[in-house]
């Protein structure tokens, strides 16, 4: 069954792939986002993700619903981790099961693009020199976003 959520434990890749497997699904596309060891020229030692959890879960659920509508018959699971992560940890996973690979890829791509645009999650990078910085990747672009961002 399609689902989404904000989690504070490591992401279990096999378990999530298993959730979207079904006799009718010949194709499973997944995306896994992991913490990179550098940002521009600076060495990243860790990342701290925080969220407006209630709203993030609502936005994630909306995005999953939209993806399942785009790719009719798709089963979609999307989870985003929050808390303190180290380099190499997975922060986000999307898995889409579908009868055919085209819709599976398209739905998977849609979910990660929309998560990056709309879900109220923030990250603070911790650098090797002890400093930290909020990473401002995107102004939120909800379909019902304010007129001025």
């Amino acid at each position: 069954m399609s689902r989404s959520g904000i989690v504070d434990l490591p992401i279990d890749v096999s378990a999530i792939v298993g959730e979207v497997q079904a006799p009718g699904h010949g194709a499973i596309a997944t995306f896994l986002g992991t913490v990179r060891g550098s940002s521009g020229k600076r060495v990243v030692t860790g990342l701290e993700y925080s969220a407006y959890v209630e709203m993030a879960e609502r936005e994630m659920a909306d995005i999953v619903r939209e993806a399942a509508a785009l790719a009719s018959g798709a089963e979609v699971v999307a989870v985003h981790r929050v808390g303190n992560l180290v380099v190499g940890d997975s922060c986000v996973m999307i898995a889409v099961g579908h009868a055919h690979r085209g819709p599976a890829f398209d739905a998977c791509r849609y979910v990660i693009e929309e998560i990056k645009k709309r879900v109220p999650i923030w990250k603070r990078e911790h650098y090797a020199d002890g400093s930290t910085e909020w990473v401002n990747a995107a102004a939120p672009q909800a379909r019902a976003a304010g007129t001025s961002a």
Partner: protein, 78 residues
């Protein structure tokens, strides 16, 4: 009326708290309360993105004292 505004991430650092109380005239809309929210810190943008009851809200959305109001910094998930 008084409204409690939830504040996150870089904006929370800017005001030194994860919430703030603002006083606004009634009837209120997202458009009419935005400047009071922006005034919480000079580090906030003049037109911050506002959510009402856990959804992005346009300027015309009405705001009541029972609503959950939040100010949303640029997102960086994924």
């Amino acid at each position: 009326m008084k409204l409690t505004v939830r504040v996150f991430a870089a904006y929370a650092d800017a005001i030194g708290s994860d919430h703030a109380v603002i006083t606004v005239a009634e009837p209120a809309t997202v458009g009419s309360i935005r400047s009071a929210i922006a005034a919480l810190s000079p580090l906030l943008p003049p037109h911050p993105v506002i959510a009402v009851n856990e959804a992005y809200a346009t300027d015309d959305v009405a705001v009541h004292s029972s609503d959950e109001i939040a100010v949303i910094p640029p997102v960086a998930g994924g």
